[in-house]
């Protein structure tokens, strides 16, 4: 399922809303999560899961082809931990 299909499903269930409004709603949700992560905040959605940012400290890596040492700078990466309900629902069948 891609975003436009998600918008379509929600729009079909809400005939009083324009499809472009539903698109704005879906965008608002994912934009809000993105902004929270940019500020290092956690986003916890019970039943679904939690988004957070993990810090990867700088390290000395190696070019696997040449064996040459390279400095890898500090990184911040988004992380999603699925919630209990989602884990259970996925394994019900």
């Amino acid at each position: 399922m891609i975003k436009s299909e998600l918008v379509q499903v929600i729009a079909n269930r809400n005939p009083h809303l324009y499809q472009r409004d539903v698109e704005m709603i879906v965008n608002a949700i994912f934009d809000e999560i993105t902004e929270a992560l940019c500020e290092s905040n956690r986003v916890e959605l019970r039943g679904f899961g939690a988004f957070s940012v993990k810090n990867r400290p700088p390290r000395t890596g190696r070019n696997p082809r040449t064996g040459e040492a390279v400095e890898v700078s500090e990184k911040w990466v988004p992380f999603f931990k699925p919630g209990k309900e989602l884990r259970e629902r996925l394994n019900e069948a």
Binding site: I2, I10, A28, E32, C38, V43, L45, V53
Partner: protein, 119 residues
């Protein structure tokens, strides 16, 4: 880390603010969107949100685990797991926001590009 945690209530508030539906309806729609994403993943289908990321379903084979407390071996049954693959756009936005903050924190003489442009 600032340590703030956002919840459904914050997402509803954002929808209320940006779209101008009632607070009740905003909350209902946030719930509906999250439920639809959950439902699709639960059915084993991937959900791809462009410029955010993809929720993929992976099959895990049976393996032998160990109870860390007793050291006892226990079989872990085959299962499905959700993995989130962040999009490049999301990764870059987070990296950019953090490295900018980091530079500003470590260097008194550092002036962010927006401020320099305004001067």
């Amino acid at each position: 880390m600032s340590g703030k945690t956002l919840t459904r209530a914050d997402l509803s508030e954002a929808v209320f603010r940006k779209i101008g539906l009632s607070r009740t309806e905003s909350a209902t729609l946030v719930e509906m969107v999250l439920e639809e994403v959950c439902e699709t993943i639960s059915s084993g289908e991937a959900v791809k949100i462009s410029s955010f990321g993809s929720f993929l379903v992976r099959d895990k084979n049976e393996r032998v685990g160990r109870n860390p407390k007793t050291g006892e071996e226990v079989p872990i049954s085959p299962r499905k797991v959700t993995v989130f693959k962040p999009s490049n756009v999301l990764k870059e936005r987070i990296l950019e926001a953090h490295s900018r903050k980091n530079r500003a924190d470590n260097d008194d003489t550092y002036v962010p590009a927006e401020v320099r442009a305004a001067e």
